[in-house]
Symmetry: C2
Subunit: 225 residues, 2 copies
Amino acid sequence: MTSFYGEHSKVWLSVDCIIFGFDEGKLKILIGRRQMDPGRGEWSLYGGFVRSDESVDDAANRVLFDLTGLRNLYMRQVGAFGNVDRDPGERVVSIAYYALINVKDYDDCLRQEYGLEWVNFDEVPTLYSDHNEMIQRARKMMRQKISNEPISFRLLPSLFTLTQLQKLYEAVSGEEVDKRNFRKRIKDMDFIEKTELIDKTGSKRGAFLYRFNKRAYKEDPTFKL
Amino acid sequence: MTSFYGEHSKVWLSVDCIIFGFDEGKLKILIGRRQMDPGRGEWSLYGGFVRSDESVDDAANRVLFDLTGLRNLYMRQVGAFGNVDRDPGERVVSIAYYALINVKDYDDCLRQEYGLEWVNFDEVPTLYSDHNEMIQRARKMMRQKISNEPISFRLLPSLFTLTQLQKLYEAVSGEEVDKRNFRKRIKDMDFIEKTELIDKTGSKRGAFLYRFNKRAYKEDPTFKL
DNA sequence: TCAAAAGTGTTAGATTTACACCCATGA
DNA sequence: TCATGGGTGTAAATCTAACACTTTTGA
């Protein structure tokens, strides 16, 4: 191969995906046992190598699609992790991404096939290499986003109750909020629409279901929680 | 070379540095004419390849030190830029970093030696490859930071006037603020200390010089502009 | 003497926070 | 009938934003 850059050394480049979900009032991530050496058997994020014919973003999308069967997930780059010895085998630099999925959309057969587990974010075990650092950075980014962009809806079913929305917000932001004040703020956002549907799974009385109107949000994209 | 990952392809990895400065009331960045093919002669950020024995962060620090002679600069990773064809020559993935320097600390001989120019951020020409995208992302990150972290002091001399501080804030945030309201907020921050020194370069009357007390900030790191 | 930047307080309006009770239902 | 989560309004406190004039001094 001819090269302008021949004298410099190349590195392996991988992507690692932090997949967030929300279920039973808790923020969760999807992790599995590493299937390859080095580190076989350790808890780990799921990742893959970047191929020569795909962009780094495409590699992350491919890995996410393999894993979830879902396209067009909300996905953001966390950043590059490039310590020399981060991979015990070779020099591998990894670009971390986080993605948000609705746990209910996710095919549990696929989860079992890959041997993945949903674990509560606050109870994540020690992970392979620098993966714990990756998830912390991802969480920090997400915490900043959730107050300024409507990302909650990526983690919830398309119909959700205000209590669910509030619990999610609390789980991500890490602080409790007053129910009445929270609902007041939601009422001001016209793109969060009340339906006539009632969810009775969470309480005897039942709670109204709401939906996120993407179109309405695009017309007036002001968001502040 | 033995490898666990032999079947996957490696890539060249570079770092690109966005060096911000502030002078004469304007936010500036340091760019130069590209010295190598492909793209020789085009306006470009300054960068370098990541070596096999250094972390990606170290590579960025090395490039910054070569260029400025300064250590311990404020530096943050912007992210990985990994489109397949972003480099016309070969597959090169680049990790962008931005750094803040005080223009007065910067040795102008070094600038000339490397053929670099300070250009107003709002007047940056078309740059090589995806470098314009990099600087936009860097600026966005910086805009978010400046209200929540005391980074202004990295761009200013150690003694500065409140007018300078305000102009800097306006240049980075992109919006004008009321002088009295701005000063009120500054007064609340005990780690921005008034000295008895007067700067007479900016006005006939002269303005008091202030200084950032790092130690006091560490004791009470609350910041909100 | 005048142009140019430095410096200084008050008030109205908006936003945020704290707070407690009734409702509907299934078990 | 009672335990559980759903739903609602008001008032005090805080924060934000708007606003204009005096001071100093070198040219």
